[in-house]
Symmetry: C2
């Protein structure tokens, strides 16, 4: 996928002066402060919502004064975008690692199972799983361009899903079309955010298997 868009790749190779939205820190300490802001913001945005969270809270919980986050981020919306964008980048990375461990001839059922398990971990495993709830619930607070950028990342994330589901569809092992199955599958997975309880519910491996049996017939 060489079609990375500019803003998404920009943070990794930029030298613009602060305040801005990317990572342009000369010092490791500066980058660490920025990362802390993103983490703290993700938690607050998830628990209280974007609008109900104040920059003052985020600053205070990051050990800063009220105006200091604006040294790292031009606006509150840019901080929200950073939460979603960096979350998606790390989820994409994790997914690629999972796929890399699979041999090339692994059956589609097993591959999709691995993708589902990884996604459940992204959704439910702390820490740093806050971003995805924020992404699912706070899209309307983004600018149009930022929504598009996030959608591009989500599309890349879904690419292997599309691929495996098409294989399974061709094998006659789906109960709806590949794209309909994908929409239902993600909907059901995202629903776990509202009911999964790590104390009382199944282990994620077992949960992923249950999902697979509902959406795909005949495991290999």
């Amino acid at each position: 996928m060489p079609t990375t868009n500019e803003r998404i790749s920009e943070p990794r190779s930029s030298e613009v002066a602060s305040p801005r939205r990317g990572r342009a820190h000369k010092t490791a300490a500066g980058a660490a402060r920025r990362d802390e802001l993103v983490m703290v913001a993700a938690r607050h945005f998830r628990l209280k919502g974007f609008t109900a969270t104040t920059m003052r809270e985020i600053a205070s919980d990051s050990g800063m004064q009220s105006g200091s986050p604006f040294y790292h981020f031009k606006s509150k919306k840019d901080l929200l975008f950073a939460v979603m964008e960096e979350g998606m980048h790390s989820a994409l990375q994790g997914q690629e690692q999972v796929l890399a461990t699979l041999s090339a001839e692994v059956p589609a059922w097993q591959c999709l199972h691995a993708l589902a398990l990884h996604h459940l971990r992204v959704l439910l495993l702390r820490p740093s799983n806050d971003f995805i709830a924020v992404m699912l619930y706070e899209q309307r607070a983004l600018t149009e361009d930022d929504v598009k950028a996030i959608h591009r990342l989500r599309h890349r994330y879904e690419a292997p899903w599309r691929e495996q589901l098409q294989v399974l569809e061709a094998q006659g092992r789906l109960r709806a079309s590949a794209s309909m199955t994908r929409l239902m599958f993600f909907g059901a997975l995202h629903g776990t955010l509202t009911w999964y309880d790590s104390e009382q519910s199944l282990a994620l491996e077992e949960l992923a298997t249950r999902f697979m049996h509902v959406f795909v017939s005949q495991p290999d």
Copy 2:
């Protein structure tokens, strides 16, 4: 179900003075104004979120002055609760009507199909479908007691689902346990809020059928 809780049933038989959270209007015009506030609020809460919506916008779009909504509702949170509570009441009523038209011996598959279709209509058909998106996305803005009241309504709403899914489970026609199937089913249905497009997608009847084939095997 005689276990209706006080606050839920209160609005229908109360005589307390305004401002309050129930319907205590002597005049039909007063009740109509209140209903308009609830409808307008639902739309705004859905499109912009609870916190980002101001009482002034709601007032203005309801043809009132900025302070007037507080004649009908003690607080913004009470208006949010009214949106969810009245939405759930009408959804419950609609569901009961659907069930009433079914004969007593209708097979479980058909009954669940009717429930799924009704739910898709509640989710996706305008007007007055805003409340459910608000309910799903804005729970954290409610007080603890209000969350409990809404959960009781949702539990009542899910009762016929539980019943039919248990029948289907006993018949060996589910791919996961009855409760797991219900959680996945609702998750997948709620996901339609993010992707269903009435212009391009299937008719809701057909969509309900596709859902049914994924979650339940062997239609009658």
